[in-house]
Symmetry: C2
Subunit: 215 residues, 2 copies
Amino acid sequence: MDLSLPNPSWSKDMRLLFDQFMKKSEDGSWKHLPSYKNKFSRRIEDIKVFFPDAKLIKEKISQAQLFPRNFEEGLGFEYAMFHNHAEDRTVCIFQGGPYLQGAPGFLHGGAIATMIDSTLGMTALIAGGIVMTANLNINFKRPIPLCSVVVINSQVDKVEGRKLFLSCNIRSVDEQTLYSEATRLYPTNVCGIAVQKWLCYHGLFVKLDPEKSLT
Amino acid sequence: MDLSLPNPSWSKDMRLLFDQFMKKSEDGSWKHLPSYKNKFSRRIEDIKVFFPDAKLIKEKISQAQLFPRNFEEGLGFEYAMFHNHAEDRTVCIFQGGPYLQGAPGFLHGGAIATMIDSTLGMTALIAGGIVMTANLNINFKRPIPLCSVVVINSQVDKVEGRKLFLSCNIRSVDEQTLYSEATRLYPTNVCGIAVQKWLCYHGLFVKLDPEKSLT
């Protein structure tokens, strides 16, 4: 089930933005990106190699689900992403529910970081990089009120060899308030080779290092 | 209910570490820090000022709960923190459950950022700073397997006027594997004054700016 479609918990602002981007998607310049709870959880046997305790795999890893999609409707992360291929950028519209509280009445810094990480990760993935180890640098400019809607704009700034440099900002719907800014670097060749192989196998790894054997 | 006490979902490693730190706490050099789901959610009326839509307050903000404590036992963030006052540092033992997945079999970067933010935030809070707007810079060195136990070490590096500089790292239980490193800056005087007032009222604000009126 695509969880990035409107549901009854979405506020007017959220629906309005969604409709605007769906309209922009009609001519193909933007594309709506679907989002699933456990799209990547199917090949549990492949994960075994990373876990010393076999019982854990059976009992817990089989329950594994994508972090930002594990809340009941309206309580956690409500979001939808749209990608503009020509401009190498992704927009995420995000409504953070009451279970994401940090300081009273505001989103937890970790919840903000989660949506930044998800949006930048998606942008990097589409741009052909990967995504397991990286630097993430966030400036939290203003606290984001719980249950408000914000817009995350992320883009590829630069490609240097096998390094992808991305940045994003989070603004209010009217664009007048800047909540956060972030940069992220994705070096694609610093993971362990086992991880690279595994990701490659699952089609996540687009930009492989030709110097490294996968056998 | 203190959610930082052992429960049946904790692995052997997690229990062992908890017992070790509880033992270190017997002479008072370390202190176990309790953790609650909704400790700060009581004065909903104070939050109203930040929300234009009154309905939202009634319907949603009343459900507000601390982000990392909103998962069923064992599925999300299982953690306990201990503070060493003499050394200005906090240790968090953390077991990330199957609902925190990012790449398959590994913790989501946002889940890691959430625990880093929580641990550094607690360290800053105890050191007398606050905590609403800040810079957070994370180097993800290696992916952390789902359901494994890691140790987050955070400390105050420097105090410059009203700025607090903190850092932390995340290591495996045997300390041989470095998963992540992070730094965080807490400038205490960049929040809006309304937020400062509100936090002060709730006893969160220890280090107030004497230049700014609170009336």
